[in-house]
């Protein structure tokens, strides 16, 4: 049979029309079944680190077992791409129903982008420490609303190569000072490896706090890089590189490998999200968490929660809210999530059995991390201008660390002015 051009065109238009109608139909797919059970499809997007994708797939499978009529379309993204894509999705009104975030709910919630969860979680919110739920709250017309919930608790620790420590004749200390740390780093430094690595910005938190230094004021509104405490802290870090020669300067470590896991450094501050990678990847030496060294003031841990929230324009608010509730409050989900950091449920966070099982997998002093992160944790860079602050401080660090005679007060004064400008311009 001959196919005429008209028939071909008609068929093409017909297929296009069906595709468009199909798309419309899918986009309006919703929600409650006749018996009131939630149903339909929701999209869930979040950034991922090592081990996160598998963990979330398991959490989604667990949710599907509880809510078989809801399907979750998982859209994980690299951290660098995540917020770029999310903001363009906000602009087009097509953000995922459930979305991950760090500290942006204080802006996005009152802007109308996030659905208030206050009522939905009022019965369960007490299961999470109040210090963790505060980041997700914001006031709208004088009323406090819970716009986001913490799903995981992460933080930094000082990781140590126990094999190298033993070879250098250093016992794992229970407490130690900054001088002890430098002395140990000197013993650990060889032609092939540095004794200590203090990665910039959030990785500096523990040492900076012993000098009483912080990048911003407690309310997050004022830059404090030009304070004497910060100058002392940066001078200490520069001395590690150029005076004591125990830390790598800029452009020395490979960017393609984890500095600690690859053996390039023997002690390093790193995030708890590295634990799964270290457990699997480090076979050449024994390792553990070391105590934070003390200084003029007690050390703090860089620590804080990662959040999850519901898009206000979600076409399936009931299912999206149920997924958030499952991830945060359900013990099975929190068990899976704990593998990449720490859970957020009060009774589970400090559960002796859970801590023992994590410690058995390493780090052996996992409990020290939990205690420090919950009792001495600080998230001082959790400000809306975080990305700009991080970039500016990284540049200043480069200038300070690359030159033994760098003008630290001048560099920090310039940094302070730029960060203050970034804080002021955040809307």
């Amino acid at each position: 049979m001959a196919i005429t051009r008209r028939a071909l065109l008609g068929a093409g238009l017909g297929v296009s029309a069906l595709a468009v109608l199909g798309g419309c139909n899918r986009s309006s797919a919703e929600s409650n079944t006749s018996d009131g059970e939630i149903a339909g499809e929701i999209r869930f997007s979040i950034w991922f680190g090592s081990g996160d994708i598998e963990m979330w797939e398991d959490v989604i499978a667990g949710f599907a077992a509880v809510h078989p009529d809801v399907s979750v379309k998982f859209e994980p993204l690299e951290y660098d791409q995540y917020y770029t894509k999310l903001n363009t999705q906000f602009a087009s009104g097509n953000a995922p129903d459930v979305l991950g975030m760090q500290f942006q709910s204080s802006i996005w919630g009152p802007s109308g982008l996030l659905a208030p969860l206050t009522e939905a979680v009022s019965g369960d919110i007490g299961q999470v420490p109040a210090s963790l739920t505060g980041y997700g709250r914001a006031a709208v017309d004088g009323t406090e609303e819970q716009f986001a919930l913490p799903w995981r608790f992460v933080g930094h620790s000082l990781y140590g190569n126990l094999t190298a420590l033993a070879e250098a004749g250093i016992e794992r200390p229970d407490t130690w000072s900054l001088d002890d740390l430098v002395a140990a780093a000197k013993k650990l430094t060889t032609d092939d490896a540095f004794g200590l690595h203090v990665p910039g910005v959030s990785g500096e938190t523990s040492i900076a706090s012993t000098f009483g230094a912080s990048p911003v004021s407690a309310d997050g509104l004022t830059a404090t890089y030009d304070a004497a405490e910060m100058i002392a802290h940066k001078s200490f870090l520069r001395d590690l590189v150029h005076v004591h020669k125990v830390s790598p300067g800029p452009d020395v470590l490979s960017t393609q490998q984890d500095a600690f896991a690859s053996g390039q450094v023997r002690m390093a501050f790193a995030g708890s999200w590295s634990n799964p990678t270290y457990r699997e990847g480090i076979t050449a030496f024994d390792w553990d968490i070391l105590p934070n060294p003390g200084g003029e003031r007690p050390a703090k841990n860089y620590a804080g929660p990662d959040h999850i929230a519901v898009y206000a324009k979600s076409r399936n608010l009931a299912a999206a809210t149920a997924f958030v509730q499952y991830a945060v409050f359900h013990r099975d989900a929190q068990t899976l999530i704990a593998a990449t950091g720490a859970p957020v449920l009060n009774d589970y966070l400090k559960d002796a059995e859970r801590i023992a099982s994590e410690a058995a997998l390493k780090p052996a002093h996992y409990e020290y991390f939990i205690d420090e992160a919950t009792e001495n944790g600080t998230g001082w860079t959790f400000v809306p201008a975080f990305a700009e602050l991080e970039r500016l401080e990284a540049d200043a660090n480069y200038a300070i660390m690359s030159d033994p005679g760098s003008d630290i007060p001048g560099i920090l004064a310039d940094l302070n002015a730029k960060v203050q400008s970034a804080l002021d311009s955040t809307d």
Partner: protein
């Protein structure tokens, strides 16, 4: 007396048959949609340059404030300086190396297809893949420093502020020179062999042949390579996005536009920066079109 117009062939209007005419709306539809999308986006982007918009709240009209801010923006001038350096280094280098490679290729009888494929291969790879390859090469413990170490030489901080832009330029030249060489090779093959035979009979040296025959007849290709090369270099983004140096050492106008738009979420300011870039592109291309009459030789 015949007039000039009478000597020209009469152009008869092409008639559209009634059968074909009814298809015109259908055929014009994609063109119209395409044009509307392109020009609407351009005009919309320009209009955004006069607003303050963070993607979330509604755009607020700020007049020419964004454009005025650009002139005082230290980082914009850093980005412009870096971008101009990329243009000034990579375009002449690609032309010179590409022409040299094309001449060599034109004289290779055996395995010429292999060499052409090998030269063109980097161009066919995605910029991101190429940039990641060079990230490994430039790593402090990477291949290049391993080779230097094996030769007993010191290592180089390839991505330090002093060297980062040069390192990026090398990568851009490596990635683009094969394409330029193939264009020049096509140009070389279109030059009639009789010109060379005649000049040989007149006793012209190879050098003389190059300057009097090859180079003039390759000027249309050179012009094309230079125009497209400058446009591409002014829009350098992928390379410096992956292979970024510290302290804005590899910041380009495009990467700055991206940063302000998608890290700072300042869509109005980045739209104003984009308008500046378009102005620079139009000026550069217009100047080249104007000057080409003085140096480009078209064979008649």
């Amino acid at each position: 007396m015949a007039t000039l117009s009478q000597t020209r062939p009469v152009r008869r209007p092409r008639r559209v048959t009634p059968g074909a005419a009814k298809w015109l709306p259908v055929l014009l539809l994609p063109v119209t949609v395409g044009l509307v999308l392109v020009y609407f986006s351009a005009v919309y982007g320009l209009a955004l340059g006069f607003t303050d918009w963070n993607l979330i709240s509604d755009p607020a009209w700020v007049g020419t404030a964004n454009f005025a801010e650009i002139l005082d923006d230290e980082r914009f001038w850093t980005a412009l300086r870096n971008t101009v350096e990329i243009v000034a280094v990579t375009v002449p280098a690609k032309v010179a190396i590409g022409l040299g490679l094309a001449i060599l290729l034109s004289r290779v009888a055996r395995l010429s297809s292999f060499f052409r494929l090998a030269l063109f291969f980097p161009t066919s790879c995605s910029v991101v893949a190429v940039a990641f390859l060079w990230v490994y090469l430039y790593d402090p413990n990477g291949l290049l420093n391993s080779w230097l170490g094996a030769l007993g030489l010191g290592t180089v901080k390839w991505m330090s502020p002093d060297h980062a832009l040069t390192s990026v330029n090398v990568m851009i030249i490596w990635g683009g020179v094969g394409y330029v060489a193939l264009l020049f090779l096509a140009g070389l093959q279109s030059i009639p062999a009789e010109y060379y035979e005649a000049s040989r009979l007149d006793g012209a040296s190879a050098w003389r042949q190059f300057w009097s025959i090859t180079f003039p007849l390759l000027t249309p290709t050179t012009f094309f390579v230079v125009v497209t090369g400058i446009i591409a270099a002014l829009q350098t983004f992928g390379e410096v996005f992956i292979l970024a140096g510290p302290m804005d050492s590899t910041l380009t106008i495009m990467s700055y536009i991206y940063e302000r738009a998608f890290t700072g979420f300042e869509m109005g300011y980045s739209a104003a920066l984009s308008a500046f870039l378009i102005l620079i592109l139009l000026t550069a291309t217009g100047a080249q079109l104007w000057f080409q009459r003085k140096w480009v030789t078209y064979e008649r």
